[in-house]
Amino acid sequence: MSKFILHVNGRSHEVDVAPETPLLWVLRDHLDMVGTKFGCGIGQCAACTVHLDGVPSRACLTPVSAAASVKVTTIEGLSPDGQHPLQRAWCELDVAQCGYCQAGQLMSAAALLARNPSPTDGDIDEAMAGNICRCATYYRIRAGIHRAAELSAAAREARA
């Protein structure tokens, strides 16, 4: 066991765990942040996607020792009030079915929009190909990303 200081969603947490423990399980079992989901454990489904210094990463493959030096953002910290344009778009378009994969979808999509504010369908295919939705809500996920891009553009215009 070793002690690590994790910086998650702007707060610091000390945990005492084996260094190889995946960030996923530290979040879920030790920090009681269960929004990040377990799906496959081998980086194939992306339900566990979090941002490490803004880069979308699979928490199931990230040892806690590698997460301690970076800023971790989880679905719980995607926005302070649940009003990230993607979260608004997801509610407006009623994207989710079971909802289990959606935290990972949102984190992948948020990283996409952060670097590409108005993605094409091709950009969406590329950025979202790692995320499995077993309910197969891809049609609405795509629409949700486009809608969030519109909401962000409108907000930028309003500020300008």
Binding site: W25, F38, C98, A129
Partner: protein, 738 residues
Amino acid sequence: MSAALPSPIGRRSFLRLAAIGGGGLVLGCYVRPSGMAQVAKPDSGTVDGVFIPNAFIRIAPDGKVTVYSARPEVGQGIKTSLPMVVAEELGADWKSVSVVTAPLDAAFGPQFAGGSMSTPMSYEAMRKVGAAARTMLVQAAAQAWGVPAGECAAENGAVRHLPSGRTLGFGELVARASALPVPDDAAVKLKDPKDFTLLGTRVGGVDNEKVVTGQPLFGIDQRRPGMLHAVYEKSPVWGARPLGANLDHVKSLPGVRDAFIVDRTVPAGQITGLVPGVAIVADSTWAAFSARGELKVTWEDGPMPDSSWDDFARQAGELAKAAPGSAGVAVARRDGDTGAAFAGAARVVEASYSYPFLSHTNLEPQNCLVHVQGDHAEVWAPTQNPDGARKLAAQVLGIPPENVQVNITRIGGGFGRRLDSDPVAEAAAISQRLGVPIKLTWNRTDDLQHDHYRPGGFHFMKGAVDAKGALSAWRGHHVSFGSTMGGDAFPARFVPNYELFTSNLENGVPQGPWRAPGSNTYAWVTCCFLDELAHAAGRDPVEFNLALLGDRELVPGTGPRSQPYDAARMRNVLRRVAEKSGWGKALPRGRGMGLGYYFSHQGYIAEVAEVTVTQAGALKVDRVVAVVDVGSQIVNLSGAENQVQGSITDGLNAAWRQELDIQKGRVVQTNFHEYPMLRMPDAPRVIEIHFEKTPHPPTGLGEPALPPLAPAVYNAIFAATGKRVRQLPISRSDLSWS
């Protein structure tokens, strides 16, 4: 039992409410036997002054309405749609309605989620639940104003006196309504559907905000004080017992609290409940997972250690040659004289179709939290079948079912897998030994190798068209594993000479319902073979199938698994899908349209897929058009469209690349890298959905839009390439053309 119910009503109130209906209720569930509504007394957790007209509704003095959702939410949207039905009839303002998941309790009637049955079973009942409460609120307002109740109407959370325009909010009526007798069934008038303001509109899921902010909704998210984490290793060969394991070593590993063999099978002789295995209990999920990596178990051989897909295929081929009625070949139906029809046919077509075993691959791995204390247990489970979970847990624990309290969580995908309760049984057995709350978590390999699979199967087909191009004979031999086509399988009753033979192969593979059981492959075989016959007759497939359906209306079912078939409803969706899809338009080589249609789960659905296949054989599904007849009323338009979009895309998911290989009595695949799921780039970008409203009771949409998709795509592939492929999944076949 220290834990409170996850509901704002205390346990005593619930027990009182439970007396309202009894176990078998559906329609009578709002009738209180005492005949009196009551303001809830201040039981633990009860807010005083709350109007509780029945088990499903409570209205607080501030006007806030709470509606209980009885059925498990697996992503089918039922937690939103059935409360909408209650709110519509109640006249509530949807914005002021909160929806709470009910625990398992007889007061709520049937609580399973499966077979697309929730809507057909509960739609009318939920209307009456809402209408009964509305009747009482209207009476209360009429009393307050001293006017006839007939002059008052409930809307947007208030009762309005129509002549004067006066209103009283529901909250203001709570005290008075609570003193009124619950009205008789006959006195409760349902709304005219043309006055609906909420049903048929697009309403977002009631948990959407919690989903997008990562709140702990799912089974795997549950936790209790003092909880430990467990894993459970079973033999990869189904049903094999552990003979020994390095338990002392495992127990010495960091964070491990216990490791032990469970050598029980409950129910006895079955492989879909509790089966023998090795449990490891640890302080954290990762500690349990890590320790499992060092677990070494010696397994017995198991009952069928040599089962393999290749051997199943060989046996099926032999059965196909055996005479109908001989050993292993049952005659499920025989109409007319197929022999004579084949002899006199203009064209005869023979073909063999096969499809593999599939896994459900719920994205939330199987899991369960159980706390056993003495002869009581509390369960938190992502289960489609809470009553089944209760009974199995009770059986494993040797306690009465009523001593098991089941809390229903949101479910990270059902698809039929969670109608079975094996993870509940495992968690219960482990918690019983340790006496603390145990959260059991399966990993993905457990999930793939210990699923209760969609059975694979083989269809040996022979069909004929006569000189006029009409289908004159149909003969099918279905070989599968315990569940085969029934004698009413389409096109039975629509072709004069029809034979269906069935065979079941012995195997050791656990099986269970997979989204649209049976139909998910029968539609594919049936519509693909009909497409072959249409082309053999030189006729357009839509026109050929319309002719097959003839001019009859409701065709009665026949035989032991009889199923009426409404030919008029099917003809309608066929015509409409041809119209909406632009059927018959000229397309270049490499592009094509295909038709699939099927009646299942009480829905009549036709789909046209439009595909592109490159010369090198790369497939893209460009567009799918669906015409859906599930009766007179779409409950939640957003949810209904979502189910159809999802079913279409999931149908493609299953049809394109999914197959399990079975070797040496076990599934070979271990994770998603070996069992590919459809991903964003392959999902159809254009999906058009048209609902046909017909004067029939509303039925469910969790399943019936899936079966037509695979044949629509296969028939489109043929139209695009001229290649007829007859195996699922698509990835087994080379689609290249020149």
